[in-house]
Assembly symmetry: C2
Homo-oligomer: 375 residues x 2
Amino acid sequence: MTQFSFSLNATDGKARQGVIQMPRGEIRTPAFMPVGTAATVKAMLPESVAATGADILLGNTYHLMLRPTAERIERLGGLHKFMNWYKPILTDSGGFQVMSLSSLRKMSEEGVTFKSHIDGSKHHLSPERSMEIQRMLGSDIVMCFDECTPFPAEEKVSLESMRMSMRWAERSRAAFGDRPGYALFGIQQGSIFSEQRAESAEKLKEIGFDGYAIGGLAVGEGQATMFDVLDYAPDMLPADKPRYLMGVGKPDDIVGAVARGIDMMDCVLPSRSGRTGQVFTRHGVVNIKNARHQDDPRPLDEECTCPACSNYSRAYLHHVFRAQEMISGMLLTWHNLHYYQELMQGMRDAIQENRFDAFQKTFFSQRTEGDIEPL
Amino acid sequence: MTQFSFSLNATDGKARQGVIQMPRGEIRTPAFMPVGTAATVKAMLPESVAATGADILLGNTYHLMLRPTAERIERLGGLHKFMNWYKPILTDSGGFQVMSLSSLRKMSEEGVTFKSHIDGSKHHLSPERSMEIQRMLGSDIVMCFDECTPFPAEEKVSLESMRMSMRWAERSRAAFGDRPGYALFGIQQGSIFSEQRAESAEKLKEIGFDGYAIGGLAVGEGQATMFDVLDYAPDMLPADKPRYLMGVGKPDDIVGAVARGIDMMDCVLPSRSGRTGQVFTRHGVVNIKNARHQDDPRPLDEECTCPACSNYSRAYLHHVFRAQEMISGMLLTWHNLHYYQELMQGMRDAIQENRFDAFQKTFFSQRTEGDIEPL
C-alpha cells in the first residue's frame, strides 16, 4: 500500500515542484485545492472539478460535523463515497470556522463549545474531537486543531494563542495515532512575529508531522504583510515536507506564495467569484455583469480551453448572469477553477524548467487593474 | 438540403411513432421537449440535456425578446450559437407568457401591447412581430401567434377568442413566408367545446401548416377534462403532420396524451421539480427533502443510469437539497429530464413493437401515490 510521501522534482530559487503520493492518488505541487465546504464544490460536479486538473479537494469539518454530521457520513461509507470524489481530500480542523461562523462560543484549554449557525444546537470541538471527526469523514490529510490567531493581535496575545495551539498540536498528534496512508499536518502560528513563528516551527518539528501548514495569514493583514511573513516563515519548516498556506488566495497571492516556497494552497475565491460574476483571466479580472459585455461575441479568454470559453460568448455569460440563471455560476466557476489549475500547471512547468522568474514576469506584465477588456 | 418532413414508423391504436427530419437534426416522436426559457435549460449544460436523449428544446419568445432581445441574439449569430445548442429549437409565439407574466396589457385585433415584468419597459407583439422575432432567434419550429383561451371560458368567449386566433394564424402564415428548412405550426383552440375544436382544425388545415398544436389545455382544467378533449381533438388534425400538445405535463399526462395520438410535448415540470426537490421515477414521486431519506444509501432508482442515480445516495441528495447547494438542482434536474426521455423512448419502442397497451399497464401498475419509498 502506498503510504504518504513527498518528493521534490525541482527547485527554482525558493519555488519548489514536487509530488505527494497517497493511496487515493498523487498531488502535484504546487497544488491548489478547490474548497468543497458542504460535500460539494459549489456549482460543480466532481468530475468537472477533476477535469479542471484538481488532484485534491478541501472539505470543511465545521460544516460537515453540523450537517449531515460526521457520524452519518461514516455510516454512509465516508466523505469520498458520499460526494463521489475518490481522489485525496484534506479537511481543516473546524477551529477557524467555529470562530468565524458559530455563536456563543466558550473557549478553554480543553477546547471550544459553540452553537451551530444552522439550528443553534450545541457542539464541542477539541483536538481529540476534531481528530475523531476527520477520521470519521475519511479525510486523507487531517489538520491539527488550532486557534487561528486573529489579526491584528498584540504580541503577548499572539504568543499565548500560538502556545495553546502548540499544546493542541501535541494533543492532535496523540489523538490521531498511527494511521498508515493518512497524513496529519501541523499548523504554524505566531501572527507577524518572526520569533513566534520560529518557536512554533520548532515545536511542530519536535512533535513531528507529515506536512506543515502556515496558519494565521490571509486574515486581513494584506498582501504586503503576508509576503513579509512568507519571506521567512516557510524556511523555518522542514524542506522535505509539504508546506501548506491556508486560505490563499488571489492569483497574484498564489504566485507570490509559490515564489516563497509554498507547496499547497486552498481558497473559496475562484468558486465564490464564479457565482458573483467575477472572472479570473491571464489579463486580470472580468466583471461579467458590466453592460459592456452584453454585445461582445468573444469568449472570456480566447486562449482558454474551459467549457465557458470554448462554447460561449461574453454576451451569453453576461445574459445568464443578469437573468440569474444557474448556468452562470456553473460556467464561471468552471472557468475560474480551470484558470487556477492552469496557473498551477504553468508554475510547475516553469519551476521544472528553471524559468520561474520569467514566468512571474510574464504573469505580472499581462495583468491589468480593474475590470479588463482583454485581447 | 433536408427540408422539414414527418414520417410515421408505426402506430398502435391511436399512438404513433415517427420522426421529424430537419436540417439541424431529427426528432424522434413521441418527443418530449425540455424548456430552455431564457436560453438555458435551468441547472443544465446543453451537452447534458442532449445526453438525456432530448432531440429538441423549447425556447420562450417572451423572455428572449425582453432579455437579451431578439435583435441582440440575431447579431450574435442566432439562438443556437448563443446557447450552444445545435439541434432543433422550437419557440413559442410569446402570446401565452404575455398574458401570464406581463402587466398592463392592451389587446386588440391587431395584437397586444404590454409592460415587461423585468423592467416595466413597453413592448408589442402581433402575428407579424412574433414571426419576426422567431426568425431573428433562428427558431427551427415557429409557433403561430395566438391567444391561449383561459379556462374556464364561456362558450361565446371561447368562440370569439378562437376565431381571433384563427385570423392571427392566417396573418402568422403570411408573415412567416417561405423559409425552406424551417417549419410553422398552427395552434388549435376552442377550449373544451368540440364544435369549436372542429372549426379551428378546419380553418388551420385550410391555411396549411407543417405541424399542428393543441393549445388551451393544461391551463387548470385537470387531467380528466384534458383527456376528454384529447379523445377527439387530435383526430381532427391531419394524420400526416406532427401533433403537438403544448405545456404537458406530468408523466401520466404524457402517457395518456401519447395514447390519444400526440407526437410532441413540452413542460417545465421536470426541470422546475428538479430545483424544488421533487423527483420523478418509475415508481412515482420522491420528495427528497423528506427526513426519511437522510440515512438512505440507495439511489433514487436503482435501475436508472443517470448521473444522480449512478453516483449518489438519497442521503447525499437529501443533504445537498437541505444545504441549498446548486448540485442539488443540477443532479435532480438531470435525473428528471433523463427519466422523461427514457419514458419517451420506452413509448417509442412499445409503439414500434405493437405493445403500447402492455406498456401503459406496466407504467400505471408500478406507480404509487404520494412520496414513495421505491424498491
